[in-house]
Symmetry: C2
Subunit: 260 residues, 2 copies
Amino acid sequence: MKKYKIAFIGAGNVATHLSNELKKCGHEMVQVYSRTEESAKQLADSLHTTFTTSTETITKEADIYIVALKDSAVDQVLSKIGFGDKLLVHCSGSLPMSVLSQYAKNYGVFYPLQTFSKNRKVDFKQIPIFVEASSSENLNILEELANELSESVTILNSEKRKSLHIAAVFACNFANHCYAMAAKYLETKDLQFEILRPLIMETAQKVQELHPKDAQTGPAIRFDENIIKSHLSELKEMSDLQELYNSNSKSIFEHHQEKQ
Amino acid sequence: MKKYKIAFIGAGNVATHLSNELKKCGHEMVQVYSRTEESAKQLADSLHTTFTTSTETITKEADIYIVALKDSAVDQVLSKIGFGDKLLVHCSGSLPMSVLSQYAKNYGVFYPLQTFSKNRKVDFKQIPIFVEASSSENLNILEELANELSESVTILNSEKRKSLHIAAVFACNFANHCYAMAAKYLETKDLQFEILRPLIMETAQKVQELHPKDAQTGPAIRFDENIIKSHLSELKEMSDLQELYNSNSKSIFEHHQEKQ
């Protein structure tokens, strides 16, 4: 396998995990850029490489530039950098690949579908990676890189990747927010979030085999009006929770009235 | 350990799992009652016992009657049965123990905090069980039973149990509904739900160690307005999903503005 010189533009959760994993595979991390010095330095130190906070001093020496910034910062940062004929890649679920066409001749997308937190290890082999590129040569490079990291690599166009990202926001961010709301409520009642952990695991484990529609339980799907009313009344002093309880219960009930 | 004769009133998911587990521990399942013959027969057959669909022929021979009905059916069914001085127990998260006082002298609650689906095995040892009873003698019986089944047994009053149940609805039913909405959306885009399974597992695994507030990722917590707007616009033809996307994103953002 060819080993590449890679520069990271961005030093957040995705950049941290991806750069470390690529380094493990033998690629050389030549520089980290971030607008905040603390993040840039922290990631560069962990990779034993250099960092910069200025777009003007971004290295010319990399073969591949991987952009892992929040979407709204991408244009602002990239417009200040020249990439010549180097390969420019972003990791965003929702940005179309075409946003890169104005900054580079060779470009592509490398999207790992996972929730990354800095201090938490993940098994990259299990992470589905979705790639797309501006030419078949570039696609080959990204597919090879992805195959070094993961057992699940798929070529996917920008439109479908965006759909996948929307679904991931529901399945991950919104599911986690349900946990967070449960924790917030328990804390007002002097009960510990810990007690919910086996339930949360089983809820996720069930849908590893079942379709979520077949895995649903609880008062909303049974349309147990007494419970639902009594829960809503109990939540009357926490209007944010009450609103989420109401909209989710209605949505569950309606979803199960729809044709299978 | 004393072995009891137990009758089940109800033959749904909770009754199925709990009766089978109690039987494994050596207790005798003497009868199953359900309003629908199919459920009553199915559970009774699996327990090698008898069933009835008529409250008039409910056995007098049990030591303990365990009620696992939907909450709204409890009064209707119990008002037709005489329990004398037998121990009457319900498994509901939200019904207070006191609803049983008009039907029996000895009563209590046995609440396993888990999501049960009929054809799915669960490890009862890991399921937290919450008990409460009308006297210390009855409490001893229920604690002993619970300890035979699980490594996590807690005495909890009706008010706190209800709070726990509300939190469980968020952490389990609403989280599962997030998976269901993700699945529904992917199906309209010819993408498979399966692809989200590693993400769903990691989301649940993260909060086995982290507090959910520290585990959150995604566009809402970053307040990445471009993505949020573009996702909302993409969902314009699925108003149920659009509404949930909007309310969850707002709630995530507001939650992270609150003081830790």
